[in-house]
């Protein structure tokens, strides 16, 4: 089936099987391997991308369901060489250890801050409660998101 998905601002036309999962479309067809294929059961959240404006678990969405829609992945966050404040905060606050969960967590965190620029720690924890860090590095993840909220506030760009 022929589909066109606007991924990180670029139209991507492909011929795919209806059963192809969005995560595999991104990783294998488009070679955007920043989004990770983790549990494959919509539990771990390593595969979170935005479908239009909404974070979704792309292991549980078919690529054909994204036909005609926009998808934003971790590769679409930075502006040129300038990292998104959430990405920068993860670097500053040691928000990643092995890094496997990081792209998904950052996509969810960016969405949270776009909708709630000044979240409490509890709200951050709730927002990422569908994401599993197998290093159990949650303290620094939460610290990174809260730091990004502060950096967002000071960043007029």
């Amino acid at each position: 089936m022929k589909i066109t998905v606007t991924v990180n601002g670029t139209d991507q036309a492909r011929d795919v099987e209806p059963r192809l999962l969005l995560i595999h479309f991104l990783r294998d067809d488009l070679r955007l391997t920043g989004s990770h294929w983790g549990c494959d059961t919509s539990n771990c959240g390593a595969c979170v991308v935005w479908l239009d404006e909404t974070p979704v678990k792309s292991c549980t969405v078919l690529a054909v369901m994204a036909d005609g829609h926009r998808v934003t992945t971790i590769e679409g966050l930075a502006r040129g060489a300038v990292l998104d404040p959430v990405q920068a905060a993860f670097a500053t606050c040691h928000g990643l250890q092995c890094g496997f969960c990081t792209p998904g967590v950052i996509m969810t965190a960016r969405w949270l801050l776009d909708h709630n620029p000044d979240p409490s720690e509890e709200q951050v924890r709730e927002a990422i409660s569908g994401q599993v860090c197998r290093c159990t590095g949650y303290e620094n993840i939460v610290r990174s998101v809260l730091r990004a909220a502060r950096d967002d506030g000071g960043d007029t760009g």
Binding site: H24, T60, V64, G130, Q131
Partner: protein, 305 residues
């Protein structure tokens, strides 16, 4: 086709089997596709239950009829003395909806503990109901609220009580050529409701969950009507019918509520599984039933909780 890894993945049985795909942009078109393809077709909404089932090959539909483009089915609104929820409303929509929370606190209680925020972004209310998982939360909440479902088919639409919607685990009255389009909840005066769930970890399916809706007499002393929903414990139609029968007309006090919890625990049919032994689940039914009744009565009396 660039699917060089497909064979390896199929060995792991983590991709769905071959399936055809159709996109519907109206209820009429969806119904006509369902009619054309017959029982091999399945409606695809959020897919957060269906796609995992397809990966595990527990279901192998021949055709998916994607209804996500029927944007007119995504709404939550009041109409007269009803709250109406479109089948395509996402779980996140229901949790964020102030009208739903104002009239039915049970819905926000339940949505806070259904899966996780990202899954709630995409999973739909109608999809959860039609999946008919025996541990599903909203089925118990809608049963407690004595709601109804609107089902569209080739012959028009019909309304089915939430308490007659499920015919068994993973089974509903929705026929292969029909689709669920709306949930209706009656808004009644002097009511309060609540939901509680015990799960092994955040976002998990319940070990046990209970929901209650209570409508008090005008003086606030007695229970005029009550709905109690139980999930994951084999309650027929997700309802604790015997406890409801006991409560109707009784004073809304601690002793009565405690007895209702005991009755609910006696009559449910939990099974021992990886989530816990049956006697533990029965204990949870008793305790959670009392707690949700207590909170529902408090809310019906206008007490914050």
């Amino acid at each position: 086709m660039g699917r060089t890894h497909a064979t390896a993945r199929e060995v792991l049985v983590q991709v769905p089997a071959h399936v055809e795909y159709e996109k519907a942009t109206s209820v009429e078109q969806a119904l006509s596709l369902l009619a054309r393809y017959g029982p091999g077709a399945r409606v695809l909404a959020g897919g957060h239950s269906l796609i995992p089932m397809m990966k595990l090959r527990l279901v192998q539909p021949e055709v998916l009829v994607d209804i996500n483009a029927i944007t007119g089915l995504r709404y939550i609104q009041t109409a007269g003395d009803q709250l109406r929820i479109g089948a395509l409303a996402r779980h996140a929509d229901l949790l964020a909806d102030p009208l739903a929370g104002e009239h039915f606190a049970i819905l926000h209680d339940a949505e806070r503990v259904i899966a996780d925020p990202v899954v709630r972004n995409w999973g739909t209310i109608g999809g959860s109901l039609c999946q008919a998982d025996p541990s599903e939360d909203l089925s118990a909440a809608f049963a407690a609220l004595k709601g109804s479902m609107i089902i569209h088919g080739p012959g028009g639409s019909r309304e089915v009580s939430a308490r007659a919607f499920h015919t068994g685990p993973y089974q509903t009255v929705v026929g292969p050529d029909e689709m669920l389009t709306e949930i209706r909840l009656p808004i009644r005066p002097d009511g309060g409701s609540a939901y509680l769930k015990v799960a092994r970890r955040a976002g998990d399916w319940p070990i046990v969950a209970a929901g209650a809706a209570v409508w008090l007499t005008g003086d606030g002393d007695r229970i005029a009507d009550v709905g109690i929903g139980l999930t994951a414990v084999g309650a027929t139609h997700f309802v604790a019918a015997e406890a409801e029968d006991f409560l109707r007309g009784q004073p809304a006090g601690e002793q009565t509520l405690a007895r209702a919890g005991e009755i609910a625990a006696e009559h449910c049919r939990p099974v021992s599984d990886q989530r816990g032994p049956a006697d533990y689940k029965r204990h949870l039914v008793r305790e959670l039933t009392v707690r949700v009744l207590r909170t529902a009565v408090g809310r019906a009396r206008g007490l914050a909780s």
